[in-house]
Symmetry: C2
Subunit: 365 residues, 2 copies
């Protein structure tokens, strides 16, 4: 959809005026994908304030055909040293590129040393986060991709449960592989991240990697996983108990569920991100379990599975309509078991749009 990328590049140019930049050298591959549609592994983009006619894209010879298909609407240069090739191009018209920005949050100190010398007679300015600023607010194309990714994950989990895939005797690894295959069968392009399947005491480890540990009756099973669609990530955590839940399991689950609901309710335009974290955290702290909720409440999700904004006690800023965030409180009882419940939501005027639709009733298998 070239028109989507044309519109995004125009939005970026409108940001330029405030920063007094003539051009921006974009080197982060996700930002390049956002602005051009290119999905390869090496590229740079020199986006000029004056419009797409002065904007140049560069990739290497492996991607000549792919870039012609994906980026039909920009001038393309083929060179392995993509950023340096564009620096040379800019230097041959140094007046036009007199004040050029670079993505100083991505460019390393060493790369900057090289770039400084490659931009001749050009003032190379730190310009962090300009594209990420746009990416905070998802457009319709992006929200639809997030919906599709979340729906694939929902269907995969439903299929796994229905087929009896979570049962005593299987290993964490087997359950993870089954779940991942189901996401791919449901149309996921890939995996959002390495799936977490954590059974029994392992569920108390917030980021546990699946092992050959065998699921047993009485176990909490924590599943934290995600599908992808057109580069966009889903992220969801659900809990299953094998056999009749114990009283402590029900108690902890209900506590986290109330916290998760309180956090989700606090997600609205204008809400301070630290306040959203607090809304969920207060429920857990109020039950005397504050120290067992050892991470932040959530994060933005989009082309990256973890991106801005951060819903954390130390988070800064407010939510706006169109942001996509996770809400994922947890309580972890070391050596015993833990609970996390996580949804992906889009901030809307009024109630947020819930993208992960799997039930949040405790699933008993």
């Amino acid at each position: 959809m070239p028109e989507t990328h044309v519109r995004r590049r125009a939005s970026l140019r409108s940001v330029f005026q405030a920063t007094e930049l003539d051009a921006l050298l974009v080197t982060d591959l996700l930002n390049i994908r956002y602005l051009t549609g290119f999905t390869g592994s090496n590229a740079a983009l020199l986006l000029h304030e004056g419009g797409d006619a002065h904007t140049v894209f560069c990739t290497d010879g492996r991607y000549t055909e792919q870039s012609a298909a994906e980026v039909p609407d920009l001038e393309r240069v083929v060179d392995r040293a993509s950023a340096l090739a564009l620096a040379a191009r800019a230097s041959s018209h140094s007046t036009r590129y007199a004040r050029s920005g670079f993505e100083s949050q991505h460019v390393s100190v060493e790369q900057h040393e090289t770039l400084k010398h490659a931009f001749v007679d050009i003032e190379l300015r730190r310009a962090p986060g300009l594209v990420e600023g746009l990416r905070l607010i998802k457009d319709d194309t992006e929200v639809q991709a997030l919906r599709d990714a979340c729906a694939a994950a929902d269907r995969a989990l439903a299929g796994l449960i229905e087929a009896g895939g979570i049962r005593a005797g299987r290993t964490e690894r087997e359950v993870a592989r089954d779940l991942e295959n189901r996401m791919l069968e449901q149309g996921s392009d890939g995996l959002s991240f390495d799936s977490i399947v954590a059974a029994g005491a392992h569920s108390a480890i917030p980021h546990h990697q699946p092992t050959d540990a065998v699921l047993a009756v009485g176990d909490f099973v924590k599943l934290d996983f995600g599908a992808t669609a057109r580069g966009y990530h889903s992220d969801m955590t659900r809990m299953v108990v094998i056999g009749e839940p114990a009283a402590w399991q029900r108690e902890v689950y209900e506590l986290v569920r109330r916290s998760q609901a309180a956090g989700s309710e606090a997600v609205r335009p204008g809400a301070d991100v630290a306040e959203v974290d607090r809304a969920a955290r207060d429920v857990i702290t109020g039950a005397g379990r504050g120290s067992e909720f050892s991470h932040s409440l959530g994060h933005g999700v989009g082309l990256e599975v973890h991106e801005a904004p951060s819903l954390a006690t130390t988070g800064v800023g407010t939510l706006s309509a169109g942001m996509a965030v996770t809400v994922e409180p947890g309580v972890y009882l070391a050596g015993r078991g833990g609970v996390r419940i996580e949804d992906t939501l889009v901030v809307r005027d009024g109630t947020p749009e819930l993208l992960t639709l799997s039930t949040k009733d405790l699933v008993v298998v």
Copy 2:
């Protein structure tokens, strides 16, 4: 294996003496894994010249248990802002850390701005590539992991072919998923990278992403894929033809095969990396197809699927025993089909050790 990590940290300290550093702030997660065994997603390490007793590791609350298990032999601090927490620690003993290095090839210009202020009364020096320099030469633990990863990929491909998994009527995506599942069944921890399965004219695109295109009789099918073992990556490309190969397919295949053999023969200690590229490239250029070999010959492989050294016309440096590299020439006829043959090898005195053992005869199914 703590002793492996102890030894690697000692090797890094021996590099310090030449750089006159008191300490190195390691922030790259793969370098941290190499030096400590930690596999989580947030950490920093402040490695002191004086020994492990003065060396501090930091991660956040999600990884308290995991880091205790994986990094039992170092002092551990728990803080979400891991690098800044270690900077504060160093600043409270600024004499001991008077000249501290940072990984300037990984730290962004913005992060550096923050770190500069966090290291108080300490000279923060650019110290790029120190750990990567060690990682160039694989120790026995690493070579065994590479062998295991390559063996899982070999077994997966053999199983796929034996089961008739590459056949007319299947889509590229189905073949890719089948191959990937077989790698996981064969013990791979994950996927080395997004598998390439490219059929027919798609095989002429060096880095093609699998689509719903259907395999047909007469197609070249290019499979470029890898397994992982304990963080180490395999990388292999093989070609299959469906039905009797055409004369042009045999001709191009044999050309690339001769090139690949010439490149592999040139892999030995002391060889200039550009000369290794040339040894393979000359075969293809000599056949008048030089312009159709549009990428470099190979790359190092280890904790990253692409790492140093680069076997390229523009590559600099020489090979040493213990380096692991790919040799992967290709010839791509746009709109028609292409061939790449790729092995992963370890540089040894004499003949290199071949890790990817699948046949390099053209497979006909």
